[in-house]
């Protein structure tokens, strides 16, 4: 399959200012040197706990936030990607690399070029109550992307809006309503309609089912699957709910404190997790089966603050299998075969 998104060493830091003159005293390394590859047409799951940087990563990839380093190649053909890989390792300052980056690297796009790219990548937020403008009617909210991207206006726009709303399961009469007149699940569908009305190629789903009821979740997940087949979309599914990610993603990556610690195909990861954090995370999911007695690894302590991450491997203070090297050296992602990558000194 072709690669749609390839990030290389993506970094997003937030500066913490303090003092009278508001100088930078520390940095929150929300996303630190992340390199992932998302293939066209797949659903890529991203899991982790709060504060690990998954939402930041999603928003940085679609340029809602400006990265502090690294590159994001969008829809570049595979030969060029290989070339870029070689150049980045051997000759990072070459003119050819600069040329390729100017053409494909999202992290340096600006102005109208960036705005034009936004048509191809969209986002659905976690909480539908705050992600819809409470003073705009549904038809205006869903129709706005068409007007802004200059795709259609007037009657043509209205037709497309109604078409999209029907696809997500709402009726034509409901276009003339305010968001607060709908239930949570319906509001989330409106948000999905807004994201998809411009027919993007890539959609970031930022915990889309966390704020809705359990019985509505299944409906929304069905909707996502259908739309993916129907419109040929590529998803980045961010969630902290591992059971849902297991059902909908093709490949899954686990993040901890700004770094990807393991990623693999879904069945592989859930059957055979290797990184100690991934093992603990998967074991912590409560299973709706009271007869099951499981081996539980209860992690001590809490996630440390991303302002001062521990040296060496970031998980070492809580790791049950910590070794001496873990305290000094940061592990790199290594390919253990079968598409299974782990960043741990045990391997």
């Amino acid at each position: 399959m072709n690669t749609l998104i390839k990030t290389h060493g993506l970094k997003k830091y937030y500066a913490v200012t303090g003092g009278v003159l508001k100088r930078k005293i520390a940095e929150v390394k929300a996303v630190d040197d992340v390199s992932i590859e998302i293939k066209k047409g797949e659903c890529f799951g991203l899991v982790g706990e709060s504060g690990c940087g998954k939402t930041t990563l999603g928003k940085t990839i679609i340029r809602l936030l400006k990265p502090n380093g690294g590159s994001i190649f969008f829809d570049a053909p595979s030969e060029l990607l290989e070339e870029v890989e070689k150049l980045e390792n051997n000759d990072p300052d070459s003119k050819r690399l600069k040329e390729l980056r100017k053409q494909y690297d999202l992290s340096i796009f600006r102005g109208s070029k960036l705005r034009h790219m936004r048509r191809k990548m969209q986002i659905v937020y976690q909480d539908p109550t705050t992600s819809l403008d409470p003073r705009m009617l549904v038809k205006d909210t869903v129709g706005e992307p068409l007007i802004v991207q200059k795709i259609a206006k007037g009657a043509e726009a209205r037709k497309r809006v109604v078409e999209m709303l029907k696809k997500v399961g709402l009726t034509e009469k409901q276009v003339y309503r305010f968001p607060h007149e709908f239930s949570g699940g319906q509001r989330q569908r409106i948000a999905v309609a807004r994201a998809l009305v411009v027919h993007p190629e890539f959609v970031v789903l930022d915990e889309p089912t966390s704020s809705v009821d359990v019985s509505v979740r299944a409906q929304l997940l069905n909707l996502f699957k259908e739309l993916q087949k129907d419109l040929g979309l590529t998803y980045l599914f961010i969630s902290h709910d591992l059971s849902i990610v297991e059902c909908i993603s093709d490949r899954v990556a686990v993040m901890y404190l700004g770094k990807i610690v393991e990623f693999a195909r879904t069945e592989e990861l859930y059957k055979n997790p290797l990184h100690p954090y991934a093992i603990a995370l998967l074991a912590a999911i409560p299973v709706p089966d009271p007869t099951l007695k499981r081996e539980r690894v209860i992690l001590t302590g809490e996630v440390p603050s991303p302002i001062n991450p521990p040296l060496g491997c970031r998980f070492h203070p809580r790791c049950p299998k910590v070794m001496e090297t873990c305290r000094r050296e940061e592990p790199r992602l290594r390919d253990l075969g079968n598409g299974h990558f782990v960043a741990c000194h045990l391997f």
């Binding site: 009821d213 019985s215 699957k225 059971s243 849902i244 059902c247 912590a284 409560p286 209860i298 992690l299």
Partner: protein
């Protein structure tokens, strides 16, 4: 096991601009002593309102319009809905405690952890505190290490023990030299609070005790809330989705904590959640609620093995399983302003009968310790 709490035909209505919201419609529930009962349902089904009704703390414009909430107090069986406010205030925090979903919202941001837990302590365990203080003073007098004002302090503590609202104490509290007796009480209180926090498995309790709520992480704040709730050894702990907003690993820690504490203190727990996984982990009996009434109550093994009510079946089937298709329940939760007639689930029920749209089913015991409210079972009672 004896019954601790019994809710009988509870009716709760909210009078709003848009109409009358019939939030609770003849809720029937029993909680036995020493057990963990899980209350499961979706948003808007009335679980939080049931919990608040037990404490008689329903916010306006809600009014409890019918039913009884019986609690066993020794030999007597009291109806909480008929009691006056002073009695209820004694019960809240002391016999029935509640912990909530978003811990930092329920902690007062301008008071430290010590202040907040002390408040609960002072409200309900003042006598113990005074007795401890008096014992300490006696020890000091015996060992000869007493200060010059020891007798005075002892008399003040005794006064506090017998007559907490006496005017003498009020005056003494305001005069700087005479309110020294408070210092001893504060010291003892601090030790007790640190001990409680240590029981909550909080690392470094001496430091945490002086922190403000915004400095705590989600998991720690939730532990502080649990500490406040258990400070007085309540007989019933109501937990309203306490781990929904927490990370999965922190959730595991908190669930473990609740389990250990339950074994240690022997309280009963009413655990409200929408996560069937947590229910399977923690609870011994489960009650399923839909649109304002309880539709099925059974033991946890029974409910997962053999769910009888169509809603329970639908709920269990809609849990996403990998590899299988996602099944969901048709339709949406009805608005409670004009609820459907008869059984409130009939318009979404795949097995609906004609009678379901007309009359409300009654709660019957269809198997041993397995109660259900459904017309499909009123015919064949086993």
């Amino acid at each position: 096991m004896k019954d601790l709490l019994e809710i009988e035909d509870l009716v709760l209505k909210f009078y709003t601009y848009e109409g009358v919201v019939e939030a609770l419609d003849e809720v029937n529930l029993t909680l036995k002593e020493g057990e963990t009962l899980g209350l499961v349902g979706e948003t808007g089904c009335g679980k939080s309102m049931t919990a608040l009704s037990i404490l008689v703390l329903v916010p306006s414009p809600g009014k409890i319009e019918g039913g009884h909430i019986f609690i066993e107090q020794g030999e007597k069986r009291l109806d909480l809905l008929g009691q006056k406010e002073p009695f209820l205030r004694k019960i809240r925090g002391d016999e029935i405690s509640m912990i909530f979903q978003e811990p930092r919202v329920y902690l007062n941001p301008v008071y430290t952890v010590l202040d907040q837990i002390s408040e609960v302590y002072m409200q309900h365990r003042l006598k113990e505190l005074c007795q401890m203080a008096i014992k300490e003073i006696d020890n000091e007098i015996e060992s000869g290490k007493a200060g010059s004002l020891a007798e005075f302090e002892k008399s003040m503590c005794r006064e506090l023990l017998e007559n907490p609202t006496s005017p003498m104490l009020e005056i003494a509290a305001r005069i700087p030299i005479l309110n020294r007796y408070k210092r001893r009480l504060k010291r003892i209180l601090r030790k007790e609070v640190v001990e409680i926090l240590k029981n909550m498995e909080i690392a470094d309790p001496e430091r945490v005790v002086d922190m403000y709520p915004h400095e705590l992480s989600g998991g720690m704040a939730q532990r502080v809330i649990v500490a406040m709730a258990l400070a007085c050894n309540p007989r019933l702990l109501i937990a309203d989705e306490p781990t929904t907003n927490l990370d999965v690993t922190v959730q595991l820690q908190i669930l473990n904590l609740i389990r250990t504490l339950k074994k240690k203190y022997g309280s009963s727990i009413l655990y409200i959640t929408h996560d069937m996984g947590v229910v399977a982990e923690l609870c011994q009996r489960v009650a399923v609620m839909y649109a304002g009434s309880v539709c099925e109550i059974a033991g946890v093994m029974e409910i997962f093995k053999d769910p009888l009510h169509p809603y329970t079946k639908g709920l269990l089937e809609s849990i996403p399983q990998p590899g299988k298709e996602f099944k969901s329940i048709e339709g949406t939760v009805p608005s409670l302003i004009n609820p459907p007639t008869g059984c409130r689930f009939h318009d979404r029920c795949p097995y609906a009968l004609e009678v379901c749209a007309k009359t409300k089913p009654k709660m019957i015991e269809v198997k041993k310790d397995h109660f259900i409210k459904c017309h499909l079972f009123t015919g064949d009672q086993e």
